[in-house]
């Protein structure tokens, strides 16, 4: 949840990270593959192991010497996972938390970003300054008082506890404000002259232009809320409100050596984001360039 904008100017939407091709470069680049192939293999091996192990028969896992490729593939691990755990419930909970987080971020942060960028009202400078100042506060400092606060209003052990911290963020407000500042003011002046209300202008004229920034914000929110572990770990002890990350972490403690089962749970928790990354890679890269997300 701690965020710091990168010193680079904001990058909105798809950006081609490849350089312009240099005609002279093309000839002598073969040896880069000698570096990149082993690196890519090392980065890919954990994924390959994850998928293969989730499909390996139990009898072949804890054996010596171990083998990389199983002699046959089976879905036993998945069958056991769905039978012995509430993985469907956890997935449903996480989908709900992430959906609320993304929608709320898109609505509230674009409203606030637009307000701070374009509207004149007393206290706007102080308000924005306070928001930016909170970037320096580490989340660890907030854990105890937030827990006590949530306990007092009865949020602890409910799914709402996992949602509330993701309703809006400094990063979101900052990102949207930067984007709206970059739009020419004439756009909305014309709309206001035509008698359009402030909100009408924002909703019908400005927001449709903000799609690249909204995509960045949605990816950031999805990734952070889907993968969050620390806060659910603190706030949720009730198995009915477990998120996917919390569920598989507890499962790992309970079923230490049941590897096909554990890896199947890993695949379920990771595959949606992997698929999404492969499809929307350029937007992901733009999001990463804009900020450090993890942590």
């Amino acid at each position: 949840m701690t965020l710091l904008a990168s010193p680079r100017p904001p990058v909105y939407g798809p950006q081609e990270p490849e350089p312009e091709p240099g005609p002279r470069r093309r000839r002598r680049t073969g040896w880069w593959h000698l570096v990149l192939v082993p690196v890519a293999v090392v980065f890919a091996v954990p994924f390959v192991q994850m998928f293969l192990t989730s499909l390996t028969p139990e009898s072949e896992i804890n054996r010596f010497p171990p083998r990389f490729f199983p002699s046959e593939l089976t879905f036993d691990g998945y069958a056991k996972l769905f039978r012995d755990s509430d993985v469907l419930l956890w997935t449903g909970n996480t989908v709900l938390v992430s959906a609320v987080a993304v929608v709320s971020h898109l609505v509230l942060c674009s409203l606030a970003g637009y307000g701070f960028a374009r509207l004149k009202f007393p206290g706007r400078h102080v308000g924005f300054l306070l928001i930016v100042a909170t970037i320096m506060i580490p989340t660890q400092l907030l854990m105890v008082p937030t827990y006590v606060m949530f306990a007092r209003v009865g949020l602890i052990d409910t799914l709402a506890a996992a949602m509330v911290p993701w309703l809006a963020s400094v990063f979101g407000i900052f990102l949207m404000r930067q984007f709206f500042l970059s739009l020419p003011a004439e756009l909305e002046e014309a709309a206001v002259l035509d008698g359009c209300s402030r909100f009408g202008t924002f909703w019908r004229i400005i927001l449709p232009l903000a799609r690249p920034a909204l995509a960045t914000l949605a990816i950031f929110t999805l990734l952070s809320s889907w993968n969050d572990l620390v806060w659910p770990l603190i706030a949720i002890n009730n198995p009915d409100a477990f998120t996917l990350q919390l569920g598989i972490t507890n499962f790992q403690g309970a079923r230490r050596t049941d590897w096909s089962l554990l890896m199947a749970s890993n695949v379920v928790a990771t595959l949606p984001l992997i698929a999404f990354f492969v499809v929307a890679q350029k937007q992901f890269i733009a999001t990463m360039t804009f900020t450090g997300v993890k942590g």
């Binding site: 701690t2 710091l4 990168s6 680079r8 990270p17 350089p19 880069w32 990149l36 890519a40 980065f43 091996v45 804890n62 010497p65 171990p66 990389f68 409203l111 606030a112 307000g115 509207l119 004149k120 009202f121 928001i131 100042a133 909170t134 320096m136 580490p138 989340t139 660890q140 400092l141 907030l142 854990m143 105890v144 008082p145 006590v148 306990a151 509330v164 809006a168 963020s169 979101g172 402030r198 993968n227 572990l229 620390v230 603190i234 972490t249 790992q252 554990l262 749970s265 928790a269 990771t270 999404f276 990354f277 492969v278 992901f284 890269i285 990463m288 360039t289 450090g292 997300v293 993890k294």
Partner: protein
């Protein structure tokens, strides 16, 4: 402007920004102040809070367990930060060229970024399992001695740092890639014309241009490193023999296992002070030195 109109504009402005502002400030500044008050108390969440002045801070300075946790955190920071900066720089240079398959390499190297700490934890325990894990198996095939990895107090933190690198290399790489593309090609070409070889033109022309970015990723990764918690939780839970107990892990234990809310808040403030000092110190230093400023 009429007073009525001014009031209406003020209300409109706050109408836009108030929801997100209230959420962000209510979940940061308010609990941060509360945490400070808590740090001056002895409280377990149920009893009547007892004011103890600065006793928690005095205890913190003399706490041998906390000192050990600081040591482990520094070890991790020393392993992770330079490695992640160098790896990101190296990968960015390698990926910053138009060669066949570069898209595949990039996808494979960036993919771990979307994997959660929970999933990475399960993968780590499997890959580095001393009996049938892949890593020891590779060592065995190569005729090298078997290692204890996560079960060896000397090696557990190294394993955690390696897996953090796997998960976060994408971040530093993406930042460096974006920065590399901002460097005008004429600069390196001029150096080459002047007789510099590739290596010289990289270290004497390209690398100094990247200095502000290096400062940024250095600070960013350091802050991430000193806040390490979730990968420890999902792999070793602080073991073996407490060798991977980091400051935040210790903070989490004192708050939510030992229910020492006051003491945990004091530790959190200590961490906050260190984070702030590092950020300010490095920023001032880099502004003064010739490498240029952060922004």
């Amino acid at each position: 402007m009429s007073p009525g109109r001014r009031v209406r504009e003020g209300l409109t402005g706050w109408g836009f920004v108030a929801p997100a502002t209230l959420i962000v400030l209510g979940l940061s500044i308010f609990p941060a102040v509360w945490a400070f008050l808590l740090s001056l108390q002895d409280w377990n969440g149920f009893s009547v809070p007892e004011p103890v002045g600065l006793a928690n801070y005095q205890e913190m300075v003399a706490d041998p367990d906390l000192a050990a946790a600081v040591g482990h955190t520094l070890l991790y920071t020393a392993l992770f930060v330079p490695a992640s900066v160098l790896l990101g720089l190296g990968l960015a240079v390698a990926l910053n060229r138009r060669i066949v398959l570069v898209g595949v390499y990039r996808t494979l190297i960036f993919l771990p970024f979307v994997v959660s700490a929970a999933a990475t934890g399960i993968l780590t325990t499997y890959l580095f399992n001393p009996q049938f894990g892949l890593v020891n198996n590779v060592l065995r095939v190569l005729g090298l001695p078997q290692q204890g990895w996560l079960e060896d107090p000397q090696q557990a933190m190294v394993v955690i740092a390696l897996m953090s690198l796997w998960g976060q290399a994408a971040f530093t790489t993406v930042i460096y890639l974006a920065a590399l593309q901002d460097i005008p090609a004429e600069l390196t070409e001029a150096a080459r014309v002047d007789g510099a070889n590739r290596w010289q033109s990289f270290w004497h022309v390209t690398f100094p241009q990247l200095a502000p970015v290096t400062v940024f990723v250095g600070i960013w990764q350091t802050i991430q490193a000193i806040q390490l918690f979730d990968l420890v939780y999902t792999t070793t839970r602080g073991g073996p023999l407490g060798s991977t107990e980091t400051v935040v892990y210790y903070l989490w234990t004192s708050a939510f296992k030992d229910l020492e809310f006051g003491y945990a808040s004091a530790v959190a403030y200590g961490l906050f002070a260190v984070t702030l000092a590092i950020t300010i110190g490095v920023t001032i230093y880099s502004r003064r030195s010739t490498v240029g400023g952060l922004a």
